[in-house]
């Protein structure tokens, strides 16, 4: 539990020539096997932070060291690192022109030297794990939101990532479907997957998180275990935020 997987230092991301500072000098360490939950008000830079971790957002300055390599380095092949980092989006982003099985198998088939049989078998196992083995031939538009998000999670898992990034994975779901997605994530956490989760589901944070990070105005204002953050918050902004979300 104490090997550092991702080390972020002085990370900044500015937009429009510095007029918008989405992220300012953020430093943080993510250890292997940890579940880190990122909370904070809307516009505080949570998504930007998460998206910088796999370079979907290019940082303005700072460093992100993964396995001892600074991935901001120009010589680094970012695609190799992205394969090790699965990402789950708020709006699922399944590929609508492919059936579920193809959604899951296209990346490992094209990017890893695995046979179609191996890849398919693995996909079917993962589908069974999330209870959707009978939907392999369906197309994304035939699934409910909760089913789509479960597929998005196993699609990312097909690449055997070392860390999974979640950006508000349940925010676009009808309330009755939130549980089924959170259950899959809890299961994943139990198996020791390193996870960084941006969410407004405080229940999930309390139950599953090893560390909770509170962001505001592009900075990490407070960090601690769930008990520290939710029961003994120190800074006023966090107290204020919790008062609003924990009604």
């Amino acid at each position: 539990m104490n090997e550092v997987l991702i080390k972020v230092e002085n990370l900044s991301r500015h937009f429009i020539g510095g007029k918008i500072k989405a992220l300012t000098d953020v430093s943080y360490e993510i250890k292997k096997g940890q579940v880190v939950v990122v909370i904070g008000p809307s516009g505080s830079g949570k998504s930007t932070f998460l998206r910088c971790l796999n370079m979907l957002e290019i940082p303005t300055s700072g460093s992100i060291v993964v396995d001892g390599v600074n991935i901001l380095d120009k010589n680094v092949d970012i695609n190799q690192y992205r394969m090790k980092m699965g990402m789950v989006f708020q709006h699922f982003n399944l590929f609508p022109h492919m059936d579920i099985l193809t959604n899951m198998t296209i990346a490992p088939l094209k990017l890893k030297k695995q046979t179609p049989e191996e890849v398919k078998e693995k996909a079917m196992q993962l589908l069974a794990r999330v209870g959707l083995e009978d939907r392999a031939d369906a197309y994304p538009n035939q699934l409910s939101g909760g089913q789509k998000q479960r597929i998005a999670i196993v699609r990312a898992l097909m690449m055997d990532p070392e860390v999974m990034l979640f950006d508000e994975p349940t925010s676009a779901l009808d309330p009755e479907m939130v549980g089924e997605v959170l259950d899959v994530m809890k299961e994943l956490a139990k198996q020791g997957m390193t996870m960084v989760v941006v969410t407004h589901e405080m229940g999930f944070a309390k139950e599953v998180a090893d560390r909770v990070v509170f962001m505001s105005d592009g900075q990490i204002l407070e960090e601690g275990n769930p008990k520290e953050i939710f029961e003994h918050p120190r800074c006023a902004r966090l107290k204020d935020f919790l008062a609003k979300v924990l009604i």
């Binding site: 979907l56 992205r82 990402m87 989006f89 590929f95 022109h97 990346a107 990017l111 690449m159």
Partner: protein, 237 residues
């Protein structure tokens, strides 16, 4: 009434049957179709290339990165689009025939290349709009799985974009077919040229021109049917 029918029958026979004119007609239809088809293929290839260069350039700009080679290619593409869309296709064909390809004797090749290059400029913009119509999350999902930009374009973005722009591409295909009727200016024996030749012999304009109008129309309707069939097939997939 009877007389009128007799007149029509004479004109018909004069136009299509005498001197084996139907043989020349068939071959002229072949010429028109061949120029349209190969110009379409060339236009699609050019259009996809230009659209991908321009979209990747825009993407790099947004990422705050820039690549010298892409910048140069993008400038070339912009120049191409501006020049081709800003000048008449007739003038382009003259330049191609008398200047750029002056040494070739293959007129059909000149016509095909002219219309391919011309069509490519319009196809490029159609494809670019198709690429831009795809949700940004698709590119991000592709990249987050480890695909590079070109792979994501090829596996994920372009297949969806093509589906969306099929109607616009069909219209471009039809416009292309109709526009090729000017290739007779450089002496290509296409469908329109056939009618002009017949009129020159028989001094009768009605039958040959109404005749080819009907033929163009039938081909256009055929293309429309084909395109909607293709669309329906892709939608079902």
């Amino acid at each position: 009434m009877k007389e009128w029918f007799a007149e029509i029958a004479t004109a018909f026979s004069q136009t299509f049957i005498e001197a084996n004119r139907w043989k020349a007609l068939l071959s002229s239809i072949g010429v028109t179709l061949r120029i349209t088809f190969f110009a379409l293929i060339l236009g699609l290839i050019l259009g996809i290339l230009v659209a991908v260069v321009r979209s990747s350039h825009d993407q790099l700009e947004m990422d705050g990165k820039s690549n010298k080679i892409i910048n140069i290619l993008n400038s070339l593409c912009s120049l191409y689009l501006t020049v081709i869309r800003g000048t008449p296709v007739m003038v382009q064909m003259m330049i191609m025939y008398f200047v750029i390809m002056a040494s070739t004797t293959n007129k059909i090749l000149v016509g095909t290349i002219t219309f391919g290059i011309n069509s490519g400029a319009y196809v490029a913009e159609i494809i670019r709009s198709g690429i831009m119509s795809i949700d940004k999350g698709q590119m991000e999902a592709g990249r987050s799985l480890g695909f590079n930009y070109v792979q994501t374009m090829g596996f994920i973005i372009i297949p969806q974009a093509i589906k969306n722009i099929l109607p616009a591409l069909g219209n471009e295909f039809i416009a292309l077919l109709k526009e090729t009727s000017i290739v007779n200016i450089i002496g290509i024996k296409d469908l329109t040229k056939w009618a002009m030749n017949v009129q020159g012999r028989t001094y009768e304009a009605f039958m040959p021109f109404i005749g080819i109008a009907a033929i163009y129309l039938v081909i256009v309707i055929g293309i429309s049917k084909l395109m909607s069939l293709l669309e329906r097939k892709m939608r079902n997939e």
